[in-house]
């Protein structure tokens, strides 16, 4: 026969164990929420063992809706997919700076870039294809954007369009063999970037990016004021 006081102690221990377990689960959930709310401290640019090269970033400006080339020294690997990703990471690092003309969240923007050969039939139909030899090297880039970056991207036709054009323009300026670009978000198709710009279509870099004829930047990275959209007074 178990004494009454031992039964009470046993039940109290049991109840306190359940309460402590519930409390610990709640603490764990709260800690996870706090961690998710903090911006990812992972460095924006992965360390790359490659000599720095001069790269042209097509930098967007929200104030006047323009795209302008900016020359930067970027460590660019020789391998093409890593090279494309390094270019885009540098572009978004530029936008994450405090005086950015197109401010975006300080978050990793690009998970992966996949490069695939453009199917021959599509190659033949492209307006910029001038010869068979040039089209055989054309590539389609599938850019897998980071979900957190997309979720924190400002919403608006202008700001979203400029982000996409900036990506397309930067790839076109530095890797002209990339003639088409498609977008994924965390590996899944998504309708829009932040409610406006279409992410479901295939973009042609030669057609969709407004042409900038020359790059007239000084070596220290001054921006050439060549507007792409037409600004009326």
């Amino acid at each position: 026969m178990i004494p009454r006081y031992q039964k009470i102690v046993l039940w109290l221990l049991l109840i306190s164990s359940v309460l402590m377990a519930a409390y610990l689960i709640r603490l764990r959930a709260r800690a996870q929420d706090q961690l998710a709310a903090v911006p990812d401290p992972v460095p924006m640019r992965a360390p790359v063992e490659a000599p720095p090269e001069q790269a042209t970033l097509m930098v967007a400006n929200d104030a006047d809706g323009s795209l302008a080339p900016v020359e930067r020294q970027v460590a660019l690997p020789a391998e093409t997919t890593t090279r494309a990703r390094a270019l885009l990471n540098d572009l978004f690092a530029y936008y994450a700076e405090s005086d950015s003309p197109h401010p975006l969240a300080v978050l990793p923007a690009v998970n992966d870039v996949f490069l695939l050969p453009v199917p021959a039939s599509k190659n033949a139909s492209q307006s910029d294809s001038s010869s068979a030899s040039s089209t055989t090297d054309n590539q389609i880039a599938v850019i897998n954007l980071n979900r957190s970056f997309v979720d924190h991207h400002p919403s608006g036709i202008e700001v979203e369009t400029l982000t996409l054009l900036s990506i397309l323009g930067t790839l076109h300026a530095n890797m002209p063999q990339i003639t088409q670009v498609r977008f994924l978000v965390d590996g899944q198709p998504k309708d829009t970037l932040a409610g406006h710009a279409d992410l479901t279509r295939t973009y042609l870099t030669a057609n969709d990016v407004p042409q900038v004829t020359t790059s007239t930047n000084s070596p220290d990275g001054d921006v050439s004021p060549q507007k792409t959209p037409e600004k009326q007074p």
Binding site: D62, A63, D64, G65, S127, P154, S155, G156, I157, E158, V159, T161, D191, T192, G195, H196, A197, D198, T200, R201, Y203, L204, N207, D208, T228, P229, E230, K231, Q232, P233
Partner: protein, 247 residues
Amino acid sequence: MLSTLLLVLAGSWSATAHAQQMPAQPAYPQPSTAAPLQSPLPAAAPPAAEPRFMVVLDPAHGGADAGAILGAGDPEKNFIVALAIRLHALLNARGIHSILTRDGDTTLDNNARATIANSTHAAACVLLHATSTGNGVHMYTSSLPAAGPQDARRAFLPWQTAQASYEMESLRLESDINSALTRQHIPVLLARTSIMPLDSMACPAVAIEIAPFDVKTPLTDLTYQEKIIEALATALQAWRSDWRMQP
């Protein structure tokens, strides 16, 4: 998925007087998954003896889709529908038939918006957005590659690229609106973009994104709003004349 759908239309409406007005007008596509229309939305208009000048105003977002958060913390969906209702009233007062794709805080997907525009045989489709970024009015036409003359006469249009056949008309409409806004001394930015439902609209269409006039004049400034509404109404009146003179 939708790009594979070649949408119906062709025969019946091209035999109407509207077809006499615009003989090269292509068929209007219909989506396979169109959302049910809300009560204030119009049903497809029956063929009329006279081509009817109809303007479709599409206030963006609505319902669960709040759009951008504007400077004062207001969601884009509320600001833009209020402005669209005022423009709608002004257009009707000036004898221009117009309809709104939504007049309340209702969720409407892009296919349903394009369906309204296409089934109404609209002479002008104006997509209305707002943003706190930049200044003045940003005006966009579709960045789709323009369809060639042979494509423009096709009886069927792909749903996701229907706007490609209306590029020239859309640019003319944009020009009329640009002129009217410039006369009101409102800064205008002209560009091209790819957004839904613009690309699916089989009508002359522009997307208008209204930004603050400047640092001192926010979106909530009523005088600024009146200027924009007046300019848009004036431009659509001018477009009615241009539209009637089109071959």
